[in-house]
């Protein structure tokens, strides 16, 4: 009990996950390191951590083994002979249907989908959030409410009408179509994120700029943008991981030669033809998870903010 934090943290929101400030001599009375309480505490945490790490470990070791070793050994044993062949094969040779050029194609498709989707959705949502925060007009709150409520509607309900619209325009099955879809469905959470951020900025700033004669775009570009870099980073993290990990839109709105990485990965691993090459499958799985994992490890605490915002989208 005495060890429970002694610091008042008045927190609103996810930033609270940050460790308490002033960790130092002002803390609770030190206890012996090997008290039974500590053993219980760290023991439980370590066991839990092992459960979370186990699949990652299994993925890595499996991808470094040859198939004969996989058939003999167990999945937890480290590889006796490390081979990178499965990785090469997963990247450049694995087959989906008739194509045998590996996951590289899906990777580049995903890049071509993710980059424009992230840029467009953030551009739209940031300007929109700014308009909603500082330039409200009649009906703006109503549309915003519809947008937020709409975020809870299952995608399955809206998919087919979008298919029809895209087909009518003539971009169904193209990457452009998918980029539009991602921009649409990224809008609720991103707009909410930016709107709340711009609302939290001091209003005097905006008023002063208005008095000085600055207009809509001038205030946005010269005052708001430079002040809101962190929120842009959060939005980017959110969108990059979300769009990269998407499967449903990829499978509905693209064709086999433009499939994003997740769809291609699923087709490679779950194909019924041929001998299952588990090492290649695991290498392919890691390759697909690598981009969001890198984003996660590099971005650290900002990621937590991003997903906390993104989780609201459900």
């Amino acid at each position: 009990m005495a060890d429970v934090g002694t610091f008042n943290t008045t927190v609103a929101g996810i930033d609270a996950v940050a460790p308490r400030l002033g960790e130092g001599p002002s803390g609770a009375k030190p206890r012996p390191a090997l008290s039974s309480r500590n053993i219980m505490l760290y023991g439980t945490l370590t066991i839990a951590a092992l459960y979370y790490l186990l699949p990652l470990y299994v993925m890595v070791v499996t991808s470094l083994k040859g198939m004969p070793e996989i058939r003999l050994g167990n999945i937890f044993s480290p590889p006796m002979e490390i081979t990178f062949e499965p990785w090469v094969k997963a990247w450049a040779e694995a087959c989906t249907g008739l194509n045998c050029d590996g996951l590289s194609r899906g990777f580049w498709n995903s890049v071509r989908i993710t980059v424009p989707s992230v840029i467009i959705s953030i551009a739209i949502a940031s300007v929109n959030g700014y308009a909603l925060a500082n330039w409200r007009f009649k009906g703006s709150e109503l549309f915003f409410s519809i947008l937020i409520i709409g975020a809870f509607i299952p995608y399955q309900v809206m998919i087919y009408p979008i298919v029809i619209i895209l087909r009518e325009i003539g971009i169904y099955g193209t990457l452009t179509g998918l980029v539009i879809v991602h921009s649409i469905f990224g809008m609720p959470v991103l707009t909410l994120l930016f709107r709340n951020y711009f609302v939290s900025l001091p209003e005097e700033l905006f008023k002063a700029a208005r008095v000085d004669g600055a207009g809509f775009w001038q205030i946005f570009l010269k005052i708001m943008l430079p002040m809101s870099l962190p929120i842009f980073v959060v939005a980017m993290i959110l969108q990059v991981t979300g769009i990269w990990n998407d499967f449903l839109f990829g499978v509905v709105f693209t064709r086999p030669d433009t499939y994003p990485m997740t769809v291609q990965l699923n087709n490679i691993v779950n194909s019924v033809q041929g001998v299952k090459e588990y090492n290649v499958n695991m290498a392919a799985t890691i390759l697909t998870g690598l981009v969001p994992l890198i984003v996660y490890f590099v971005s650290g605490r900002l990621f937590v903010r991003g997903i906390a915002a993104g989780a609201v989208k459900g």
């Binding site: 009990m1 519809i146 299952p154 775009w217 997740t262 699923n266």
Partner: protein, 301 residues
């Protein structure tokens, strides 16, 4: 002239024009996609559209057929079982991990990084990894057997009765880190004086958590439940990757039913009816929450 609203009396629509232009994507999305698309799908769920949507109304025929289909009933049963279990387990595990993390431990950042990293991975990756770990010939079952316990059986992905638990294990692995983070934020928001008071009164720690801290964290719990619940209804990729709905139809879920009927079986009417039922399910979850949260003039905390 139009740019300056104060000068003269410009046309009303042109006031604040830039903001309106900036909001066009939002307005279009809200009206055309969210409202229009939803009504369109609900409307066409009363037709017998097959390959293409067409306007021949059959009343609630599609819904009768839907609820008579064993595959849909299985999907709903799976969703209910999976939903209840995943809600309970993610809350319990997430809260317990958060409570442990809140004991001023060392390496807190390391532990949090480990608990949360699966959340960065897609459901496809999650499903495929656990498909491999639970593989009966090479995975956990075979490892335990090779250690000498030869009759050990743990093969959820190929056993229709328990396949949904196999999916649950993967889903919990992926999602509990997020719940932990939300709960930890909630715990850190509890005033330290509460803990001091409980300690002075000699209340045991578990009682403080159960009867004081958790009731105080009600808003956090509600938010978390809404997040988990709306994720549950959408569960799709995980099942596709891990079991493809098998063995047989034993791990089907509604979202997969919708996709299969819309884009593979070319039975649009069934797909529309099934997706409308998904919408109803979400409404059942969201409307009471929205009422509690925003209704009654109470502002969100």
């Amino acid at each position: 002239m139009t740019g300056q609203a104060q000068a003269g009396r410009p046309i009303k629509l042109l006031r604040n024009l830039n903001a309106k232009i900036a909001s066009i994507p939002m307005i279009l999305t809200a009206l055309v996609i969210f409202v229009g698309g939803t009504f369109w799908t609900v409307f066409y769920s009363f037709t017998n559209s097959k390959l293409l949507p067409r306007l021949s109304f059959v009343g609630i025929d599609q819904y009768e057929r839907l609820w008579a289909a064993p595959r849909w009933v299985t999907a709903i049963e799976n969703l209910a079982l999976y939903g209840v279990l995943s809600l309970i387990f993610s809350l319990v595990i997430g809260f317990m991990l958060a409570a442990l993390m809140d004991q001023k431990i060392r390496f807190e950042n390391t532990f949090r990084t480990i608990f949360l990293y699966p959340f960065a991975l897609s459901f496809i990756v999650t499903g495929l990894v656990w498909q491999w770990v639970l593989n009966p010939d090479f995975g956990i079952q075979s490892v335990v057997r090779s250690m000498g316990w030869t009759s050990f059986t743990f093969n959820p992905l190929y056993t229709p009765e328990i396949v949904i638990y196999g999916i649950l294990i993967a889903a919990l692995w992926q999602g509990t880190g997020l719940v932990m983070c939300l709960m930890l934020a909630g715990l850190r928001g509890i005033d330290e004086d509460i803990w001091k008071a409980a300690r002075v009164d000699g209340i045991p720690m578990w009682k403080t958590y159960l009867f004081i801290v958790i009731p105080m964290m009600r808003p956090v719990f509600i938010t978390t439940i809404v997040i988990i619940a709306s994720g549950i209804v959408k569960v799709y990729d995980l099942v596709v990757a891990q079991t493809s709905g098998g063995p047989g139809i034993s791990s089907e879920v509604p979202a997969k039913y919708v996709y299969d009927y819309m884009f593979q079986a070319q039975n649009l009417g069934q797909g529309f009816a099934a997706s409308t039922m998904m919408l109803v399910t979400v409404a059942i979850i969201i409307v009471p929450w929205a009422y509690l949260e925003f209704g009654g003039g109470r502002k969100r905390g």
